[in-house]
């Protein structure tokens, strides 16, 4: 059997959009191997997320129990393994988010599965599935084969279109046998970074700053407000403590693929470029005409961002 199980991600009953990209990848595998796709939603009070996922035409098993309230890999991994057995799954697919990357390898050990991380494309021919994934910070793409009876991979959400709504889905409960008393991991707290702006990975426009901001993200935040954009940052800006760490765009931060990416005061280190080169249009604003960012930008402006960004805001207002 070559059934495919999608491990969903939800928070307080809201389905994470990246799950729909994982569903698309799972369907690609199932189409090739002749299996069926089902999904697993884990949490406590997660029924709304399960219904939302089912509305995309997939049979969802809902593991809903207080012991799963927090996204602890130690608690969630055995449930993923149970669900894989119940579904007769030989493929497990999830999104390459912090949750997915934490959970999937742990669950894979219980299933004896090999894992590929951050898959960009499903390749190979016929029933032979090869997975394309970045190595060396995206400088090289590898085509990998996973061996064994059960295989698992996480997908980079920006590389797979989110699955569309479709009829035929369902939600059935999955009994949870994890004993809370046996857990050796306790959740203490989550300090959320609250923002009125769109999620970096979902935004149509991203405005990002680097060392060239010298810590002043004011102009960029203003431009982001004007454009309804998310604000991103290079590793240099995050390491300096100027902005929260979840603003980091790059191979080791968030990977984004917006329609428009404005890089201001960012030199364009390989690490950063790996996280944003999927953008449709890249604009670079930098004082240094030799900055590597200009080699990949569609439109480059050699200028001081503290003059250029306010001027661009003025021009936008003029229409």
């Amino acid at each position: 059997m070559s059934n495919v199980l999608v491990v969903a991600e939800q928070s307080r009953g809201t389905l994470r959009k990246a799950t729909l990209s994982a569903l698309t990848a799972a369907r690609e595998v199932a189409r090739r191997t002749g299996g069926t796709v089902s999904a697993l939603v884990l949490g406590s009070g997660a029924a709304a997320a399960a219904e939302e996922l089912a509305a995309h035409g997939v049979a969802v098993r809902l593991a809903d129990a207080p012991v799963l309230a927090h996204p602890l890999a130690e608690a969630h991994a055995p449930v993923v393994a149970d669900a894989a057995r119940v579904a007769g799954a030989s493929w497990i697919v999830t999104a390459a988010t912090a949750y997915g990357k934490d959970l999937l390898p742990r669950a894979a050990v219980a299933l004896g599965a090999a894992v590929a991380t951050e898959v960009l494309a499903v390749a190979g021919e016929g029933a032979e599935i090869l997975l394309r994934r970045p190595m060396w910070a995206g400088n090289v793409i590898a085509e990998v084969e996973l061996r064994g009876t059960v295989k698992a991979f996480s997908v980079r959400p920006t590389e797979f279109a989110p699955a569309a709504r479709a009829p035929g889905g369902s939600v059935t409960p999955l009994p949870v046998s994890v004993d809370a008393a046996s857990l050796r991991t306790r959740f203490v707290e989550l300090q959320e970074v609250k923002s009125e702006r769109p999620e970096l990975t979902d935004a149509r426009v991203v405005v990002a700053g680097g060392r060239g901001t010298r810590g002043d993200f004011g102009p960029l935040s203003g431009l982001a407000d004007d454009l309804g954009a998310a604000v991103g940052a290079s590793r240099a800006a995050v390491d300096a403590g100027w902005v929260p760490n979840d603003w980091q765009v790059g191979q080791t931060g968030k990977v984004v693929a917006p329609e428009l990416y404005v890089a201001a005061g960012i030199s364009g280190a390989i690490q950063h470029v790996a996280g944003m080169k999927g953008a449709k249009v890249i604009v670079a604003i930098n004082k240094d005409a030799d900055a590597p960012i200009f080699q990949i930008a569609d439109y480059g402006l050699v200028a001081d961002l503290f003059q250029a960004v306010p001027a661009l805001r003025e021009r936008l207002k003029a229409g």
């Binding site: 050990v109 449709k280 402006l301």
Partner: protein
């Protein structure tokens, strides 16, 4: 309570080196490529040294690879680690095999805490720590970080980010997740994988480098550890990603706006 800390040290291509696929797709071009300790592992070594400085104990560094990996082990010993283990394995390695070999080392060394980089910057798999924790049945805290920035006073004081409970039986770990920072409380023994913003690794001092030469490094043939060594993740071919072409330089903001508006139609 003194701690026993086991830290992984992987030899990888220097991130500053230019990496590209060989035209035949069988590997990468190694001409002119330098090697160094995986930067995430360097942060793990630093964290282990700070924990030892605070609580006492021993830092054991382990690598899996060919004889050349001795260079990176010596680098970790020069930073201050106490002794090294080199699991000699010349073939391809995947996280499944790597975590199984580390499990065998854990059985021998019985550490309180295993620290690993969250990923190695060659295969970028981000799996080995999680798989090791699963194999051992230990709790895991991945992507360990700090709430304070690397420029903060707390960082200047070189305090560890992992905070041990007074009885030494548990540890608080702050970790980077999507949308914020999470704190977990894990019972020891545990596996912790580290992210970029946990600390700034120290440089080895000259006396440190001299001392490192005399520190013990035990070589262990991988085949002696009773682990299946055939990888289940097999790279069939490597290729360079499509390159983005450089676009145009615009003269001023007015031209930039016109191009974005009329040409690219994104504004």
């Amino acid at each position: 309570m003194p701690l026993k800390l086991l830290v992984t040290v992987k030899r990888v291509e220097d991130p500053e080196s230019r990496i590209r696929a060989r035209p035949d797709g069988t590997g990468i071009v190694t001409d002119g490529v330098n090697y160094k300790m995986n930067p995430f592992d360097e942060i793990a070594v630093e964290e282990a040294l700070r924990l030892k400085e605070k609580h006492g104990g021993e830092v054991v560094v382990a690598s899996i690879g060919g004889a050349a990996a001795m260079v990176e082990l010596r680098a970790a010993l020069a930073m201050g680690a106490d002794r090294g283990l080199l699991v000699r394995h010349d073939g391809a390695l995947d996280p499944g095999v790597g975590s199984a070999l580390l499990q065998a080392l854990v059985a021998q060394e019985r550490p309180d805490l295993v620290l690993l980089g969250k990923q190695a910057i060659d295969d970028d798999q981000n799996q080995t720590g999680q798989m090791l924790a699963a194999r051992l049945g230990w709790p895991q805290a991945t992507f360990a970080s700090k709430k304070e920035s690397l420029e903060s006073e707390a960082e200047q004081k070189k305090q560890p980010g992992v905070v041990l409970a007074a009885d030494g039986g548990r540890a608080l770990v702050v970790r980077e997740v999507d949308g914020g920072v999470e704190t977990l409380d894990v019972a020891l023994p545990a596996v912790v994988t580290v992210d970029l913003r946990l600390n700034k690794p120290r440089f080895a001092s000259l006396p440190g480098i001299m001392k490192a030469k005399k520190k013990e490094v035990r070589e262990i043939p991988a085949a002696s550890l009773g682990v299946e060594l055939a990888p289940a993740v097999v790279v069939r071919r490597l290729f360079d990603p499509p390159r983005r072409q450089a676009g145009v330089k615009v003269a001023d903001v007015a031209e930039l706006w016109t191009r974005l508006h009329a040409e690219a139609k994104v504004l």
